[in-house]
Amino acid sequence: MTRVQESSDPRVEPKRPVHPLAAPPESWDYATSIEDASLANLRDRYDLWIDGEWVKPAKKLWFESINPSTEQTLSEVAHAGPTDVDKAVRAARRALPGWRDMPASHRARILFAVSRLLQERSRELAVLETLDNGKPIRESRDVDVVLAAQHFFYYAGWTDKLDHVLPAGRKAEPIGVCGQVIPWNFPLLMAAWKLAPALAGGNTCVLKPAETTSLTALRLAEILEEAGVPPGVVNIVTGAGETGAALVNHPDVDKIAFTGSTDVGKLIQKSLAGTGKRLTLELGGKAAHLIFDDAPLDQAVEGIIQGIYFNQGQVCCAGSRLLVQESVERQLIDLLLARMQNIRVGNPLDKNTDLGAINSEEQLAKIESYLEIGEHEGATRRGPQCELPASGYWCAPTLFTGVTPTMRIATEEIFGPVLSVLTFRTPDEAIEKANNSLYGLSAGIWSDKGSKVFRMIEKLRAGVVWANTYNKFDASSPFGGYKESGFGREGGWHGLFPYLK
């Protein structure tokens, strides 16, 4: 075998003059490319959407909705009290017979129209979502709005096929009036996840968006009206925890669907005890993300990045517990740290931004407390030194190495761009560590070996298992948790079960 001799710089200097651009640039930093905020068409103040009209809250209270990336006020949003919630539930009850008994094909046309209008107004919705939530425009544009439109399209198609959903021979009937309480991490998308299957099933809804992110849901109200959804079929009551509680505990609501924290989910489950109301819960998680030594490492790194830094890590299914096979740990961590240097943190409206603002001061404080906890527990905090904007709520992408399973950062949901890295030695140990959690929402596996992948899929106690990918969503794909991550599924055929008798 021929051996080629090499020096530390094997490149022979050219005999030719030096090319004018021979020296590399210091950097090739991308110029800002800011999306036009005025596309959001904000109003100064939003009332409640009840019975097809904008209604002032009974107590005449409004609260500010702010842009978490600047802390500037975007608009004022109505605070719905029990009287307003009652009004909304009554409207939904009155609208039920008309919507339920409308020819299914007519309902379908209306829901298809919603999907189309979401596509038509996608740019406006993306800008609005980014302003209100703080997520990068890249994500609101390519993920949130796209999936919201797909969700309505998917369920619109089910509307006139409901007798194919439940066991043969039973006529599908809607549950009735649905109270739906959604979180702030995917405001528009979660509204679509809740409303689309409910409406397809012939139910009517009262939707309570999260306090910090009401604006896209209110914009959705306009779209629903334009698409021809009759008054009262969807009502939107904005407000904080008390508003949600009033809705959950309203005696004339037949079904509650909640997405949010496990703590609040437990409170809701408890308060519904004995009422006969139906319930679905989509709660927290601490997903195990398993990297085997036969994984395609570069793609695994992308999967890890997507898993924990997508939406600033404010994702219930975030791959927050990285379990790496010891034999590739150093290699993987090096690749990961290098890759993290490329994460662009900053103005969410910049099309080149990868990591936007944390949604609220409260959430940022929670994340920061976990950063302290992690350091206090003896884990090593690592990540790029980012220059963070002066105003707004920001957290640089972070990972902790040297994490052990008993640490709080390894077991508790942080809901931020913070990754805990642990190791394992064998597949069985990986399964044991992955499943040793009160949560069971999602998990990830990276391996090039099909047989191992399928065994892992089978053994992991989680509602969604991503193999050689992560954080992928689709209207046709059921999503939901095992254990304390909740029950019931959203998306797909299974997503109709909770909305039909």
Binding site: L272, A273, A462, V464, A467, S476
Partner: protein, 293 residues
């Protein structure tokens, strides 16, 4: 002269064994047909610690039972139906003697219970085809969903129909691969323990099904908050009981199936043979895998 019968002791069924209650307590079972000072028999009065032991046994058995191939689970449930049927006379006698059923009613109940068990046995290797889907997602991914068992379920059995109610309650839990601890009221205890004997001789692995007889009012508050249980199957029409159990379920986000005691016409297949009873204790797992070269 006829010899007196050999006394039969009705004990608990935990982890494949028939222990007495760790508390050493029993409850007298009186004749339901006539007032009498003399009990027909003594029933083991299970304690919270018996429930705990049963829960641990059920958890230990879960890995094996849930991973057993569905065909095997189906054959074991079929075997239970075989033995239930072959011991039909005994069940009929007990139903008339301990539960006050007429002989005709008892005979019909045994037949219906065997039928029901067979109906469910046949579901084991079909459930994945009923609830499994391949999902047409956008992008180069193979995406499928499949049913998996929830885990360990606590079942609160109705007093009657003792046999049919019990079978209707337990079979849908076992089919997907859950394991179960069944809390049985005094009235149904002789039947439940006899059914346990069927289980013990049916190749049903130890711990998959556990029976704790006793006073449900005493056991429910403990069983309902036990965090080893992932779900509750409650048959009750008492509003307070339902509320308490459902509220306790929230401490562990348990899957709750509540059926009013009177509502399911246990005898009517259209009501009591409902795939949604299995659906209550199964989880839908969705898997994504890339499709590339």
């Amino acid at each position: 002269m006829t010899a007196p019968p050999v006394h039969k002791t009705f004990k608990l069924y935990i982890n494949g064994k028939f222990p007495r209650s760790e508390s050493g307590r029993t409850l007298p079972l009186f004749d339901p047909k006539q007032k009498s000072e003399i009990p027909l028999t003594q029933i083991a009065r299970g304690s919270r610690k018996d429930v705990r032991d049963a829960a641990q046994a059920a958890r230990k058995a879960f890995a094996g039972w849930s991973a057993a191939v569905p065909l095997l689970r189906g054959q074991i449930l079929h075997r239970m139906a075989e033995l239930l049927d072959s011991r039909g006379r005994e069940f009929e006698e007990y139903l008339t003697f301990y539960c006050g059923a007429t002989p005709a009613r008892a005979e019909a109940e045994v037949e219906a219970a065997a039928d029901r068990l067979l109906w469910y046995a046949g579901w084991c290797d079909k459930l994945a085809q009923l609830y499994g889907t391949v999902n047409p997602v956008v992008g180069p991914y193979f995406n499928f969903s499949m049913p998996e068992p929830t885990g360990v379920v606590c079942a609160f059995a109705p007093p009657k129909p003792a046999l049919l109610g019990l079978v209707s309650l337990l079979a849908p839990i076992l089919v997907p691969g859950n394991t179960v601890v069944c809390v049985v009221p005094l009235e149904a205890a002789p039947i439940a323990v006899t059914l346990a004997e069927v289980c013990a001789t049916s190749d049903l692995p130890a711990g998959v099904l556990n029976i704790v007889t006793g006073d449900p009012d005493e056991l429910m508050p403990h069983a309902s908050v036990h965090r080893e249980f992932d779900g509750n199957f409650l048959v009750s029409s008492q509003a307070e009981v339902v509320r308490d159990i459902e509220a306790a379920a929230a401490n562990h986000v348990k899957r709750q199936l509540t059926v009013p005691a009177h509502a399911p016409a246990w005898w009517h297949k259209s009501d009591a043979q409902d795939v949604r009873w299995m659906q209550a204790f199964l989880e839908i797992k969705t898997a994504w895998h890339t499709m590339g070269q």
